[in-house]
Symmetry: C2
Subunit: 592 residues, 2 copies
């Protein structure tokens, strides 16, 4: 019942008309002309709609099964994985020297969106491998890169990240998994990790686990943590697979959603591991991967919302129920389609304006990551690091909300699993939790990011919004409908930041009590900015006599909805922030 | 893992200190002294925490099973149902002449909350029976009452409501189920109904289906609809069970939640039915039950949130993770409990302030229903009818949100089914959909209720808020912390109403585009009013030197949180409403 068509036109609009990528000075971007990206996105969209999306409900219904230490993925996953492998999709934005195509991260991000929309649980097998490759490329020795990256890039092997233990999630300083140094320079890793996505499965010949563990001598808390590479099968001298390592899946978790992905308890029983990066610098090694990992989760937020929206929209056009209050619009039928009703329209517009705004925000962030990597641009790195917790936290909260809204369009049918709408809500729910629960994102934003380097990047963000408004306020329509609301929202954000600066030093709780609201306030301003930029691009296209005027008119109407009805939430978030810590903290823990 | 303790003290506070029920002029209320209600609520709370709550996860995991036309409920449900039956809980607020105890509806509402918190899916078997009894008592003949009510009241038999068909949910005019009159005065009912809660199961000897169907001669649309009583087993002349009627469960639906309740496709294959109430007045017969049915669902919203909150709170006190930013609070432990973190505290306060506010609002509405029934008070009936769509829509939206928030406190563990937090979110989700999806509640509120009898009841509501403020504004603390915010919120509500009055006549879409926001705006004002009333009562208790000062101080702190951080949402809802229909309707259906 779940259908999906990749929104290639919307993606292209952001890339070529809003970000204007082929005019960019970022190395590699000049090659990204419209025909080239069209070809890639059409092919990726086809993989998603024809291969991945049809397996989405299968994965949900069937789930993964652990039998004698072997995890069986849902029927059809293996063939689909072969197709993704053969298409070379995993290496799209990875270095050519290891077999990749060396395209910008931005291109991989667009393809990632399409794949996640089609089948979020399935795409995690590939997505985590991609992340693990990044860690090896950044921290590994040349030997490690040569031994592991090509096989992982080709998806012959997959990767995992092992951080969490039963008693420690956010607070990794409590970690118990131990690494004992061996004479040959390797380590024996012993401990139990939980919530390991793709920890064990039948899609690849080998699985390369990246594992955080405590090696002797590093000190207390997170200081003693190092990052280790632990292969499921050891490599022989020629690189082929040798003996099984002492790591195994002890249990599969039964989850609310993403049933198609195997979430494993992993037991390391003196498993052989190799140090990845510097000893006792494991936390730092993890952190260097964090922007991309969190962008990937923020992307899941709106990508699942996109497929949920597409299905809700189709239902709203198809399902006949009631009559438009302004007179029958389908007089020959027994009733009008749901979409005539204003409240259904409101619901759809909330989904649509969020998804399109979030897509633009995410692509912009991916462009900044390319800029930071390919031009060593520290300002871009600082700006995107500031926005990443917002992108992750805001977009996953709103993405879940949108999926729940999409489910609501179906009425009672939305609650029945057969219809597929419940899965979108259940799948989207995890993105608010993993890769740092959204409360932790808010803490990262308020506790670390806004004050970083003396608030330099926050000031840069405000300056960027201000400049955009100033440059464009000669356009009366843009000003009234987009720039003025953006200016008001940005002022709310600045007022909140100022409140934190003034209160936060003396009373950190005053800032932290408002952290979650600040994350949402910031998210709205980011989407407001992106909508203003999209509106400008749409107006330009219309002024230039673009062929598909309806497409650009729809962008403007959707943007107006966001500015008029969603963006004003900034004022509420500010009010909540300014109420300070007393309402939140007045009730003592013992009095609950 | 799911634990529950009935909040009897909170319930008693609302009943005896806020609503001051034993001073009420409503017949039957004078008997409700504190000792009497204490005894009832303690016993009900015990049933819920000791019998129902332990089966909640069992029901979710095991679900119901259809085998050869027989539905098997989860293990333990039958014994628990016997316990509820033996306790006489179903007859608590039903007439003594049929075996009930004749207590006010309000008392049944409190007990209902405890039972729903403990096990929502289980309680539906009883809850729907209670509703069906109400319909028979209101519309049945004396013979029908005598034949069916005593057995249903005692839960030897249960009841159902059969409205929805696959192609028609909200739009009942499209109904196809037919009723053909027979010579003996009965009807043959033929058709398929879907989403029938408790439609078939193994808990009772007989099931009494109330079925909407079209009998000849009534005209088009909803006009031809009548209400029929269709027993699963026919009754012999002596009232004992006779032959099986031609009604059967064709399928069980796989749902997102409430797995413990059997949601059935019911096939009526020329089943014998008896007219209940007047021919072709079936819609009206259903509507007379609607206030109580919708209050029951609005109650589910906060009752599931209550148990979710209790478990989140316990976890937040127990789970050690990170350190308080203001200095370690558990210095001898490896980390501080989650509850020290301001964002966790914010999350818990949102849940707590909602649940306690919603409880007070629901009990007040139940009191108004008693007033309307027991004193034939049309003003009370009008006022509660106005508030019911708010109570249903707002409380189920916020109840789901609270359950999702509770799940979030658990971090990754919240996503694992074993922990039980996912079930609360999945169960709570249905309440936003059934008994009229929340968009339909908003439509009912804006399209019918606020203008009813010339806006008489809306004016009465505003007057009531105004009077409360006026009567109490001499108290400076109450004024600043509770009355002033309430006044501002109430002004927002009035401004929105005025906008609808001015625009709605010429352009109904302008009102309907804001209907959902209006429902939420109204909900906040209702909870704001209840918090102001609770604050007044708490202050009075403190002034009188109440023994348990901490309890009343906690009420005040929780109320202050609601007023400072939740109630200001009214301004955002007003902004959205005043933006009118253009943002919502500008994009034509074809342009989506």
């Amino acid at each position: 019942m779940q259908n999906y068509t990749a929104p290639t036109k919307d993606a292209q609009f952001v890339l070529h008309e809003v970000l204007e990528i082929s005019k960019s000075d970022i190395p590699g971007y000049a090659d990204l002309d419209r025909d080239f990206t069209d070809a890639i996105f059409d092919a990726a969209g086809k993989v998603s709609s024809e291969i991945l999306a049809p397996l989405n409900a299968v994965g949900d219904t069937e789930g993964c099964h652990l039998e004698n230490g072997v995890v069986r993925t849902p029927k059809g996953f293996k063939q689909a994985f072969e197709a993704v492998k053969e298409g070379g999709w995993n290496g799209l934005d990875l270095p050519e020297e290891y077999g990749g195509q060396g395209l910008p991260y931005l291109v991989g991000t667009v393809v990632g969106e399409f794949f996640v929309s089609g089948n979020m649980a399935f795409n995690m097998y590939q997505g985590l491998t991609h992340g693990a490759i990044g860690a090896i490329l950044t921290h590994g020795t040349d030997e490690q890169k040569t031994a592991y990256v090509p096989k992982m890039l080709s998806l012959e092997w997959t990767g995992t990240m092992n951080l969490t233990e039963a008693h420690c999630g956010t607070d990794l300083g409590l970690m118990r998994t131990k690494a004992e140094p061996q004479k040959d320079g390797s380590y024996k890793i012993t401990g139990e990790k939980i919530f390991i996505s793709s920890g064990e499965h039948d899609l690849a010949e080998n699985i390369i686990h990246l594992v955080l563990a405590k090696a002797p001598g590093g000190g207390e808390g997170t200081k003693g943590i190092s990052l280790f590479l632990v292969p499921k099968f050891m490599l022989k001298a020629d690189g082929s697979l040798g003996a099984r390592n002492a790591v195994a899946c002890g249990k599969l978790e039964e989850k609310m959603g993403i049933h198609g992905n195997s979430t494993c308890v992993m037991n390391f029983d003196g498993a052989t591991g190799y140090l990845l990066g510097d000893l006792h610098k494991g936390m730092r090694a993890m952190f260097t991967m964090m922007n991309e990992a969190r962008l990937g989760v923020g992307l899941q937020g709106y990508s699942v919302a996109e497929i949920a929206y597409q299905n809700a929209l189709a239902y709203a056009k198809d399902r006949l129920q009631g009559r438009a209050v302004t007179g029958a619009e389908n007089p020959d039928g027994p009733a009008d389609p749901l979409i005539v009703h204003p409240d259904i329209r409101r619901n759809l517009m909330e989904q649509k304006s969020f998804v399109e705004g979030a897509r633009a925000f995410t692509y912009w962030a991916a462009e900044l990551i390319d800029r930071s990597h390919r031009l060593n641009d520290e300002d871009a790195e600082g700006l995107v690091s500031l926005m990443i917790p917002v992108l992750k936290g805001f977009q996953t909260d709103k993405g879940f909300e949108a999926a729940v809204n999409a489910q609501q369009v179906y009425g009672g049918h939305g609650y029945i699993e057969e219809q597929g709408m419940s899965q979108f809500a259940r799948d989207a729910r995890i993105a608010m939790i993993y890769e740092g629960a959204n409360g932790v994102q808010a803490l990262d934003l308020v506790g670390r990011k806004i004050g970083q380097d003396g608030g330099k990047y926050a000031m840069a963000f405000f300056g960027l919004v201000k400049d955009f408004i100033k440059e464009n306020e000669g356009d009366a329509a843009l000003k009234a409908q987009f720039l003025d609301p953006l200016k008001a929202a940005s002022k709310d954000l600045q007022a909140a930041s100022m409140f934190f600066v003034e209160k936060g030093m003396k009373n950190p709780n005053a800032a932290l009590a408002g952290a979650y609201d600040f994350m949402h306030l910031f998210g709205h301003v980011c989407l407001g900015l992106m909508w203003a930029r999209m509106a400008k691009a749409a107006q330009a296209a219309l002024a230039a006599g673009a062929e598909d005027a309806a497409f650009y008119e729809a962008k403007l109407a959707t943007g107006r909805f966001y500015m008029a009805r969603q963006l004003p939430a900034t004022a509420l978030h500010l009010t909540r922030i300014l109420s300070g810590d007393d309402p939140v903290m007045a009730l003592g823990a013992e009095a609950f």
